[in-house]
């Protein structure tokens, strides 16, 4: 597996919805390359017949009745938002 390139870093930043400057792209390329190179040591292990562990608990699906209940009010939901209007979250227009 090769090093991560600056183009890949920019692509990944786009996927993660992060705007990065050229300077930041250089820095992250260097950091991510060294971390990924370090992660390559996992390839020393043969894991062909090993089951992946997503979770240590023996979890079962937790089901409940779908019942309406009071949680927070609309005013409360909007209370911490950076921009609201007339009881809604206000965001930039998505249509030209």
């Amino acid at each position: 597996m090769a090093d991560i390139s600056k183009e890949q870093v920019k692509h990944v930043a786009g996927l993660a919805r992060l705007a990065i400057t050229e300077e930041e792209a250089d820095m992250f390329t260097q950091h991510l390359s060294s971390i990924i190179e370090y992660a390559e040591q996992l390839n020393e292990l043969d894991t062909e017949n090993v089951e992946p562990t997503t979770h240590v608990l023996d979890l079962k699906n937790v089901l409940r009745e779908d019942e309406p209940k009071e949680w927070i009010t609309k005013d409360e939901a909007l209370k911490n938002a950076p921009d609201t209007q007339d009881g809604y979250y206000r965001v930039p227009s998505i249509l030209e």
């Binding site: 993660a16 992250f28 991510l32 992660a39 996992l42 089951e51 240590v56 927070i72 209370k79 930039p92």
Partner: protein, 488 residues
């Protein structure tokens, strides 16, 4: 001598006998905070008015059944508190003044009448090992303010060590309770995954995160964990397992106990003075009638790599909720929706958070998922099997908590890999989901605390506490106090 040099049990008796009042305890906490927090920088938000009012009310209506009656506590700032600003150490949440509800752990502490005095500093979104990644300020180690307190629960450990609160809550994803407890010379417990509800803990890596207590003594720690443990229907990963009395387990007796000592935990990279302190602790256990043997956790060397892939992947998904719409800060520099997301996130998150989001997004992206993410999950299985195998034959596993005492502020800040290696002895415990505690076991030549890590079987916190308590009773490391402000 500070009131907080007493144990929770002693203070409880003093309150019942009316030798002290709830107001005395709150005064003791704020007096100390005002005296030393300028040096320690542990708190992000103080809630003095609420705490003082609450103390008055508690004095008016004493409750002998409440298990944490009137005891002043600090809360890590990634645990949501109704009506109290919760920032996760991030500028993104600098205006998150009212999270609207309490985390389940907070509800449980409130039910036992604790008094929250405020919110404690941390690495941004719990990502870091030194609290230098907080976007507000760097907390200092009370033993030497040129050194870090550890992280990410650095504020939680430093506040207890400096005598500002009697206990605090932290969260531990890869060592974030145990490593700062080790650096600050206090007791920090990461319970079994699922033991404490994560409801209201702002998620970093959901399959690894656990809330746990930081205290001065093992007994206090057991008391607090007893209160916050238990099944919670608000957290579907919380385990429906009975909670025994952890304090009942503190018998002081470890005769015949079988201790495993992984040779990887005393290998190269562990500072000689740390190794020496751990060996001397093991000899103490021998004196107390326990036996120990060297064992191997052969896959521990792969834990850090697996952890960073898994934790960062989960973090990239969890932090996708920060979009600048419902809470947090929104960028002023956006004209359309996509710009709003990207600019808000870029301005809101610090470098370490961005680094991990990008690593996680990369590891989960098409073409790399099998090579990195799935591979890391398989390695996690091997690491968990290592622990299962050893814990079949032994009661506990013992080693150091961190490979070195607290390092200097700024020393590792530009070197993520060195910083990550600091968690090499705590991370495997999170991957395996088992409980682990750090207790003080000595001091370096420079006078910085060293921590002993005791790891147990899943949901067997009782044995971990019993082992830790017996050692604590036989030694006096936990009685040492930092000289901050000239007060011992």
């Amino acid at each position: 001598m500070s009131l907080f040099d007493h144990s929770i049990k002693q203070l409880e008796e003093m309150l019942h006998r009316k030798e002290i009042s709830a107001e005395d305890l709150v005064d003791a906490s704020f007096d100390r905070i005002h005296e030393v927090d300028e040096q320690v920088q542990a708190f992000l938000t103080l809630d003095e008015e609420q705490a003082r009012n609450q103390a008055k009310q508690l004095d008016a209506a004493p409750d002998e059944n409440a298990r944490l009656f009137a005891l002043p506590a600090g809360i890590k700032d990634n645990i949501v508190t109704k009506g109290i600003r919760t920032t996760c150490g991030s500028q993104f949440l600098k205006n998150f003044d009212d999270p609207l509800y309490n985390a389940t752990a907070i509800e449980k502490l409130n039910a036992e009448k604790m008094v929250s005095v405020g919110k404690l500093n941390m690495d941004e979104f719990a990502m870091g090992s030194s609290t230098e990644n907080s976007s507000y300020k760097s907390t200092r180690n009370p033993w030497n303010t040129d050194h870090v307190p550890g992280g990410s629960s650095g504020g939680s450990a430093a506040a207890v060590a400096a005598g500002e609160v009697l206990f605090s809550l932290g969260s531990d994803t890869g060592g974030s309770i145990r490593q700062p407890a080790s650096f600050c010379g206090v007791v920090g417990m990461k319970p079994t995954y699922g033991r404490v509800s994560r409801f209201g803990l702002v998620a970093f890596a959901s399959s690894l995160d656990q809330i746990g207590p930081i205290t001065r003594s093992v007994e206090d720690n057991a008391r607090v964990l007893e209160v916050i443990s238990g099944h919670d229907k608000m957290d579907s990963t919380s385990a429906d397992v009975d909670v025994p009395s952890y304090t009942d387990a503190l018998t002081g007796d470890v005769k015949g106990m079988k201790i495993a000592v992984p040779k990887e935990y005393l290998a190269e990279g562990v500072a000689p003075e740390v190794k020496e302190a751990v060996i001397s602790a093991l000899n103490k256990y021998k004196e107390l009638g326990a036996e120990w043997e060297e064992v191997s956790l052969p896959h521990s060397k792969y834990a850090v790599a697996a952890y960073y892939l898994l934790a960062s992947s989960e973090a990239s998904a969890n932090l996708a909720r920060f979009d600048g719409v419902r809470y947090g800060v929104r960028s002023d520099n956006a004209t359309n929706m996509m710009d709003m997301y990207t600019h808000s996130r870029s301005e809101g998150f610090g470098d370490e958070v961005k680094r991990r989001i990008m690593l996680g997004t990369f590891a989960l992206s098409s073409g790399y998922y099998d090579a990195y993410y799935k591979k890391a999950q398989k390695v996690r299985t091997l690491i968990k099997n290592d622990f299962d195998n050893i814990l079949k034959d032994y009661d506990v596993i013992i080693g150091p908590t961190a490979p070195t005492p607290a390092f200097k502020i700024g020393e590792n800040v530009d070197d993520p890999l060195t910083m990550y290696a600091n968690d090499i002895l705590t991370i495997p415990v999170n991957l395996a989901g088992v409980p682990g505690i750090s207790v003080p076991c000595g001091f370096s030549e420079a006078g910085l605390p060293i921590g002993l890590q005791i790891i147990g079987k899943p949901f067997d916190e009782s044995t971990v506490y019993r082992t830790a308590h017996a050692y604590e009773q036989a030694t006096d490391h936990h009685k040492q106090r930092p000289l901050l402000g000239g007060v011992k």
